[in-house]
């Protein structure tokens, strides 16, 4: 059964050859060069939020935050999820950028550091306003681009160290701990682990018995922790996890091993379950990172620039790539964070950089 007839195949060959021979290869015409910043009517702005998946509480809250902001300006947010698949993320971005990019605002969570490069290049070429969060290679800087407005992240070294210190206190200054790392190819995972190392240096009584990657996943953390618990037994006094999901997985493992309450657990991100766990004492500490705010703020910055309320040139250099404020949450102050609240005032164009806690060096 032939799918194409011989003439058709020949024709395709010929035309391909012709095209190749003429060699008129060139760069694709880049999008809407005419779309200068600040020429968009508010109603023209198209808001896109992209995260890994909606089946993860933190990222679902992020998208919800984006929706809240979009509603506050009378728009809606297009929600994209790529299931943690770098390839699919690029495919979606390039498809979005192939549409009308004149007043397009992207608030993107890149899957890994390296995924940021093609996203930035693509958006820049197409002329879309882009805010990225969490992951970017250190040498890629928003200041070098017109439309890459800002990169927002939390100071992972700081948070990793903060919870490390909290852990050290919780285990009474000395004892063995294990560390659960995130996806190794992310700045977040690397920075947080660097923070732990700094903390270990400071708290000399605390010994790192083992470290394994559990890829930010609750299920993987459960399996890894169980194995490490049998491997090191009672020597483990504390568990340092690079995010709360893994910390919660570790908690389950402790419970199953009958050691719940005897081992201190810390995490980062302040997801609701972790806050509950801190409240009832099964977890020691976490560091706030505010998903709903992140989902809204990225769109807000883009929106403000697109509508002309904010000029790129006016954004202070330190705000083009910044650490957002974060707080160590322990049993003492957990009450303040239990009810997540997004303050609409945060998204006002004058306030978008209110939570800057420092510039990315």
């Amino acid at each position: 059964m032939k799918f194409t007839s011989r003439p058709a195949a020949a024709l395709i060959c010929l035309s391909l050859a012709a095209v190749t021979v003429t060699g008129c290869s060139e760069e694709a015409s880049s999008g809407n060069t005419a779309a200068d910043a600040g020429k968009c009517e508010p109603s023209e702005v198209k808001l896109v939020g992209q995260v890994r998946n909606e089946s993860n509480p933190y990222e679902a809250a992020w998208l919800a935050g984006g929706d809240t902001f979009a509603k506050s300006v009378g728009l809606s947010q297009e929600r994209l999820t790529y299931g943690g698949d770098s390839t699919k993320q690029q495919e979606q971005i390039s498809q979005v950028l192939a549409g009308n990019t004149k007043c397009l605002v992207l608030n993107v969570l890149p899957n890994g550091d390296s995924d940021t490069t093609p996203i930035v290049k693509g958006a820049d070429k197409a002329g879309a306003y882009l805010v990225t969060q969490w992951n970017k290679p250190a040498d890629l800087k928003p200041a070098d681009y017109d439309k890459w407005l800002s990169h927002i992240t939390y100071n992972g070294v700081e948070s990793g160290q903060q919870i490390g210190d909290a852990l050290a206190t919780a285990i009474g200054g000395s004892g063995g701990i294990i560390a659960l790392q995130g996806v190794l190819d992310t700045a977040a995972a690397k920075d947080r682990y660097a923070g732990l190392e700094a903390s270990l240096k400071k708290n000399t009584g605390m010994k790192l018995l083992d470290q394994q990657a559990a890829n930010f996943s609750r299920a993987e953390a459960l399996a890894v922790t169980k194995t490490l618990l049998t491997k090191h037994g009672d020597k483990i006094k504390g568990i340092w996890a690079a995010n709360d999901d893994m910390a919660l997985g570790a908690l389950e493992a402790l419970q199953q091993a009958g050691r719940a309450g005897k081992v201190a657990v810390v995490g980062i991100d302040a997801v609701p379950d972790a806050l509950t766990a801190i409240k009832n004492g099964s977890m020691t500490a976490t560091v706030s990172s505010d998903g709903p705010w992140q989902g809204g703020i990225g769109l807000a910055i883009g929106y403000c620039v697109a509508t002309g309320e904010l000029k790129v040139a006016d954004i202070a250099a330190e705000n083009r790539a910044f650490f957002a404020e974060q707080f160590l949450i322990s049993k003492d102050n957990v009450g303040d964070f239990l009810q997540p609240k997004t303050d609409p005032a945060d998204f006002k164009c004058a306030n978008v950089f209110n939570r800057v806690a420092g510039s990315l060096s």
């Binding site: 059964m1 195949a9 060959c13 290869s25 390839t87 093609p118």
Partner: protein, 331 residues
């Protein structure tokens, strides 16, 4: 061994007349029809989808998938399956990213050659050890992933100077992505080579009836090893395309393309039992799958419904495109 009594005289119509019937002809165009229907549906859902820029982006996206599917189609035509293509492509992206600084332009052919050799190695294992291809390539899949993790130290290898592979990101005539052009050239090349050499006969014979092919003196083992080799080479080429698109290599970069590639082959109407099918069909199938992957979210289908639709449409597409007159027992 007990041989089952064949209950039906091998589908022999009473009147012997040449040429396929209209229904059969329709089946052979099903992949194209499915593609057109899908495109129409996406356009109705979002009229902006049917623009030149959008189609250009979609076709650029489809290129690595087309190449992967085209290579694996050969293995499927021989009656086997190659589950290692995605992992092989992933490890190839790592190799390419690591070698580019030293080898420059030579890195591309080097990676394709290495991938081809690895593919051939799997073919040899399959043929000599008589292990089903499903198992060999399943094992290969985990081994390649492990190698990729170790070689890259589980991290992404960034490509700083991508000048030697940047040509893949150009556009022919301003509209047609170079990567798509290369993918189509690969498809054309494979199908022309099959068409003008005895290979087509050998591959089909191997796929339809391996024992008959062997007893006719067909080099069945070589044909299979060759198919795995081409499949490997295609995985290598797909890796080059991915690296040129992402500016980096990563040990898991292409992993998620395995099931879409297999889906592309089957949606194209190539029988998973072997013999019947073509690389052209896989080209159409890869476009269908790409439209589903990127088109559904872009036209605003929420992610939960996107997966449900994807599953349902894939099954429906296979139900439509499969030529059941060629396959007797469906497992």
């Amino acid at each position: 061994m007990s041989t089952p009594v064949t209950t039906k005289p091998a589908a022999a119509p009473a009147t012997v007349k040449g040429g396929p019937g209209p229904a059969q002809r329709l089946t052979s165009y099903m992949p194209l029809i499915a593609l057109a229907v899908l495109l129409a549906a996406l356009t109705i859902a979002d009229p902006e989808f049917l623009t030149q820029r959008s189609l250009t982006a979609a076709s650029r996206t489809a290129a690595p998938l087309i190449v992967l599917a085209a290579g694996a189609t050969l293995v499927v035509l021989c009656g086997g399956i190659d589950l290692s293509i995605a992992a092989l492509a992933s490890v190839s992206t790592v190799f390419l990213a690591l070698w580019l600084p030293e080898l420059g332009a030579l890195a591309t052919p080097a990676v394709i050659l290495v991938a081809a050799a690895i593919g051939a190695l799997q073919g040899v294992a399959h043929v000599l050890l008589r292990i089903p291809s499903f198992i060999v390539t399943l094992g290969g899949m985990s081994i390649f992933s492990a190698v990729a993790l170790v070689v890259s130290d589980a991290g992404t290898v960034r490509v700083v100077d991508d000048s030697t592979i940047a040509w893949l990101d150009l556009y022919v005539g301003g509209y047609v992505p170079m990567s798509l052009t290369v993918a189509v050239i690969v498809v054309v090349l494979i199908s022309v080579v099959l068409k003008v050499t005895p290979l087509h006969s050998w591959i089909s014979a191997t796929g339809y009836s391996e024992s008959a092919a062997r007893l006719a003196g067909t080099p069945v083992d070589l044909v299979k090893i060759g198919a795995f080799c081409v499949s490997g080479a295609c995985a290598g080429l797909a890796a080059v395309m991915l690296v040129s698109r992402q500016f980096s290599g990563s040990p898991t970069m292409a992993d998620n393309l395995l099931l879409p590639a297999v889906a592309a082959i089957v949606v194209g109407g190539t029988a998973i039992t072997g013999g019947h099918g073509s690389v052209w069909r896989s080209l159409a199938g890869a476009l269908v799958v790409t439209l589903l992957r990127v088109g559904l979210p872009i036209v605003g289908v929420p992610s939960a419904y996107e997966q449900i639709l994807y599953g349902a449409i894939i099954v429906a597409a296979v139900a439509l495109t499969l030529d059941r007159s060629k396959v007797l027992i469906i497992k």
